[in-house]
Every structure is written in C-alpha cells, then in structure tokens.
C-alpha cells in the first residue's frame, strides 16, 4: 500500500503515529484490533518495523551491529535466530559487503539501505517505509523494488510514503492520496486526482516495456505567465 501526496500533507505524520515516534492527540491506532496506546514498545516492535526518514546515527557502530539491533528488537525472534536474520536482511538489502564498515563512513544511499536491512531483520508482519527510495541511485531503486516484492510474500502489509507516483502505481496494490491531512482518494491513481491534488496536469503515456500507463509531467522552460 502506498501513501502519496504533496509536501506537508501528512504522509510522514501518519507513519510516525504508526511506528510510535508520535502519539496522536486524538483518535486511536489499532494494530490487528489492539490499540497501540498502552501497548509495550517491546510488543509493538514484534509487529511493526519502520524505516524512518532522515535519522542520524551519531555513534560509530558497524553496519552489522545496527542491523542486529533490528533483529534483536523483536522479542518473538529466538536468540539463535538473531544472527541468521541479520545475515539474511543484509543480503536482501544489499549491504552484506558493508557489514564491517562503520555507519558514519557510509554514503546517504548506503545508510538508507542499512536502515532498510535493520527494518527487514526485525521480521515483523507490518513494514512501514518513509520515502524508501531517498538517496538511492537507479540500480538500488530497482533492487529495492525487487526486495519489497520478495518481502510481501510473507507479510500482510507494507505501507510506504512515496513521492514517485509511477513507482507507487507499479509497486502498490492500493494507493492512498493524502492532501491537507485528509484522504482524497483511495483507489487506482487517476490523472484527474493528481491534477486536483498537485495542481499539475500529467500526460499519460503507455510504457513501451510493460504496456502499463505512465504519468509524465510537463517541463517548461518558459515563464508560465
């Protein structure tokens, strides 16, 4: 499932309320029917893993140590399963070669993949991703797509906030459009919705490789006035 919408529409806020970085002022968050408020953090970590946006790691941990924090965070993972979970997650996120590097010396994209591995290592039914393609170059964006496709087989849900509408349409079974903190659309993306929310009229073409619709946005170099 994808969350899209213009800057400041509340995508990250929704995700933060779900992974408990924020406590909602009103209303309640339910996970499989259980309220998140009052649940021990240890228990919610067994159900929900998250890839937060723009979190700085200040200490000089090794990549493997960071991923291990994810694997060990899930109390449902038995102790002897922790190390295999770490290795598997690092391979899937493509950071196993960086395992003994310090996280402080990594590039933005590498760090993003390390945090992805940490979330995967948590082995939770729900996975929340806030802008997972941030900092990633083309090849890793494609690999991320493949990784996510692989992970959804065992998981009820992956929820991610995205900017790239085409990526959202390609990856997600369901795309929710947010604007000003409210759900505007919850269906297949329609060009009219996109124009209404973003104020830009997309051009819809058919991708020559997949035959699926693809949104293009006009780039003009003239002064719009």
């Amino acid at each position: 499932m994808g969350l899209v919408g213009p800057n400041g529409c509340g995508k990250s806020t929704v995700l933060k309320a779900l992974y408990r970085a924020l406590v909602p002022r009103g209303g309640a968050v339910l996970v499989d029917g259980d309220p998140l408020r009052g649940m021990r953090h240890r228990d919610s970590a067994a159900r929900i893993a998250a890839l937060p946006q723009e979190e700085r790691v200040e200490l000089d941990f090794l990549v493997a140590e960071v991923v291990r924090l994810g694997a060990a965070a899930n109390p449902a993972t038995p102790r002897e399963e922790v190390e295999p979970a770490v290795q598997e997650a690092m391979v899937r996120a493509g950071v196993h070669e960086l395992a003994h590097r310090s996280v402080l010396g990594l590039s933005g994209g590498e760090r993003q993949r390390v945090l992805m591995a940490r979330a995967l290592a948590q082995r939770t039914p729900y996975l929340l991703l806030d802008e997972p393609t941030n900092h990633l170059e083309l090849r890793h964006q494609t690999e991320l797509v493949r990784t996510l496709r692989g992970t959804t087989v065992h998981r009820p849900a992956v929820l991610m906030a995205l900017h790239d509408l085409n990526l959202a349409a390609a990856l997600c079974d369901r795309v929710v459009v947010l604007a000003h903190g409210e759900i505007v659309a919850d269906e297949a993306l329609h060009p009219d919705t996109v124009e209404r929310v973003y104020g830009v009229r997309p051009v819809v073409i058919t991708r020559p490789d997949t035959g699926t619709p693809h949104l293009l946005f006009p780039i003009t170099r003239e002064d719009p006035s």
């Binding site: 937060p52 979190e55 790691v57 000089d60 402080l104």
Partner: protein
C-alpha cells in the same frame, strides 16, 4: 589488574612515603587480623585510617562518575554531556554555600555540607527536568539548554550568597569544595550507588544502543525513548547527587573517560559500561595520588589535576583515531592502491609490496626514469 596493582602503590605513596612492601604487609595484617610491631604503629594508622579509605573512595568516585557520564551522554544523545549537565553541580554549590554562609542544616553537624549539596543537586535537576518538559516528552536539546541556562542562574545565586556573606572566607571554602576533594570523606556508603549505576546500565546496554539510533528509530525498535530518558534521568540525578554530596564536583572524569573508552573499544554500550568504570577508577586513583605528591605538603585540588592530565591525554587519543563521537576500535581501512611504477596492487601498505619495487604510495609516476614530457610510463 592494573587497578589491583595501583591501589597498594597509591596507598603507600604520599606526603610521607611508606615502602610498598610494608604497605602490603599492613593491609594483609588488617584483612587477616594479623599482628604488627609497635614500631610500625604510626605508619599502620596512616595507611589504614587515612590513605586506604581515601584511595578506595577515589576508585569508587572515578567508577561512578564514568558510568554516570555514559548515562548522561546516552540520555541527551550529546557528546558534550557529563554527569553535571542537568544543573546538578551548580545546584549542589548553592546548597553548599547556603551551609557555609547561613549555617543551614547546622543540626546535622559535619554532615550538613553533604546533606545540603545533595538536596540542592536534587532540587536543581528536578527543576531542570520539569521546565524542559513538553506535552510531547522531553527533547534532549531542550534538556541541555535548560540545564545550561539554569546552571548560570544557580551559580549567580551561589555567588550572591557568598558575596553578601559577613565573613571573608566563605568564597574560598565554597571554591575549594567545588573543585572537588577527597580529604574529609568516608567511602563505605559509596560502592553501592556506583555499582548499582554500572549494573543498571549493563542490564539495559542494548536499549542504550537503540536509543542512540534516534528517537523515531528507538520507538520502532521497541524502546520508548521518553520512558528510557526518564529512567536515565533518575539514575543520573540520584547517582551524581550522591557522589557530589561526598566529594564536591570533580569535573572532567565523567566527560572524558566514556569517550576514551569508546575510542579504544568502539561504541557498543555493552562493553563501554563495564570497562569505563574500571578505567575511571584507575585514573582517579592516580589523579588523587598526583594531587597529594605533586607539591607536598599541600594538596592540589582534584579538578585541577584531572584537567591538567586529562586534556593532553584525551587530545592525543582523539587525534590518533580520527574520533567523531563513538570512537573506533578499528583502524580506518586504507584503500588498496596501484603502484605508479610497476602497476601492482598493494592493499594498505605505504609502499609497493611487489618484489624489488618498493615505490612509495601516492607517487603517480616514476621521477627517476626520464620520460617524454611528464607522461606517465605504461
């Protein structure tokens, strides 16, 4: 082991040195209940009544301050934090000056200074905590700022109390107290809080690692950052207030020992929380020794010695390892490079490893062989 060896040495050495062998004999006699000759009685008393408690107190204080330093740095996620960051030292100073100038807690006799310092430290830090609270929890930066700002306020209050004091020596008494001293201390009550601090931290070592990932990450990794911060706050405040009430504010140890430990061991708290107290104990024993023997018969204030010794040691450690915050147990990998003369790859070495080449790294072409107009040889 170094600590075990240092304690007898520090006990035997002082303004009036007593041979290490005699010291060991006295300590052994004291532990096993053995007899000593009357000729040794003066030395025996000095060792057992004065020096041993003092050295043990130094060790316990060093250990406690180092463990609390780690707790404080983890709590506010800031490398500049030390156990006194929450206004504890300045609050204690207000309490101490109130005793010195106004005779507060006079009923407690010699314990008045300790009691007032403890109460002052506790009150100050609770005030800091309450003022920095927001509905969304306690943000580390707010905590630091409030602590720093209120510290200035408390110090001004202390200065005012001392300034308006009728007697002239109040300022001197308070200043010496603030610089830290082991002179008038008993140590029997202290091992408990120091050990409790280290054990609490060791027990939650993984949660400390998780907290250092950032609040959002910590929440998704099963650690409630606000709750954890509150627990660390309680631990830091109670522990530090206890130590301060006994010894005054001995700065620098709680800031530098955690960093020095991480430089050598890496950032994981599991190792740091167990090793840092040992390092802190060892360094405090030696610092105390230095303060006693440097300019006999006077004693240097401990704060002076910790800074004089600690600053250069820390700077050397930091420059050698390219330390940021968290340190590195690993030397930075030197990338492989290919030799400018023979083209073979030499991982890490500062010169070419190929046989009979030995060309230094970073030389892009061979200056010794004349080539056509600066073009590199093939």
């Amino acid at each position: 082991m170094a600590l075990g060896a240092s304690v007898p040495v520090a006990v035997s050495w002082g303004a009036a040195p007593i041979p290490v062998a005699d010291t060991a004999r006295f300590l052994w006699a004291a532990v096993t209940g053995g007899a000593i000759s009357t000729a040794d009685f003066t030395d025996y008393t000095v060792i057992l009544q004065l020096r041993t408690p003092r050295v043990l107190l130094a060790a316990v204080l060093g250990a406690g301050l180092s463990a609390l330093g780690i707790a404080a740095q983890a709590m506010v996620r800031n490398p500049l934090a030390d156990p006194f960051i929450l206004g504890i030292s300045s609050g204690a100073a207000v309490g101490a000056s109130a005793v010195v100038s106004w005779g507060l807690f006079a009923a407690l006799g010699s314990l008045a200074l300790s009691a007032a310092a403890f109460v002052g430290a506790l009150a100050a830090s609770v005030l800091v905590y309450l003022l920095s609270r927001t509905p969304g929890g306690v943000a580390p930066v707010r905590l630091i700022l409030t602590g720093v700002v209120l510290s200035f306020g408390f110090l001004a209050l202390m200065s005012a109390i001392v300034f308006f004091d009728a007697r002239g020596d109040a300022a001197r008494t308070v200043m010496f107290w603030m610089l830290g001293s082991l002179g008038a201390a008993t140590w029997q009550q202290l091992p408990l809080p120091a050990a409790a601090t280290a054990l609490c931290l060791a027990w939650r070592a993984r949660d400390l690692d998780t907290l250092s990932m950032g609040d959002g990450s910590a929440a998704s990794l099963g650690v409630d950052p606000d709750r954890m911060r509150g627990q660390l706050f309680a631990l830091t405040v109670l522990g530090t207030a206890t130590l301060v009430s006994v010894s005054g504010t001995i700065g620098f140890v709680g800031l530098v020992v955690p960093h020095a430990t991480r430089i050598v061991l890496g950032p994981a708290h599991r190792r740091a929380v167990l090793v840092a107290p040992l390092v802190g104990a060892l360094s405090m024993v030696w610092v105390d020794l230095l303060s006693r023997v440097a300019v006999p018969p006077r004693e240097l204030p401990l704060g002076v010695v910790t800074a004089l010794v600690g600053v250069p040691v820390f700077l050397v450690l930091m420059r050698r390892s390219g330390y940021v915050f968290g340190g590195s147990r690993r030397p930075r990998a030197r990338p492989a490079w290919s030799c400018g003369r023979c083209g073979s790859t030499s991982p890490g070495a500062p010169w070419c490893r190929a046989s009979r080449c030995g060309w230094p790294r970073g030389t892009s072409w061979d200056w010794s062989v004349p080539t056509a107009a600066g073009s590199p040889p093939s």
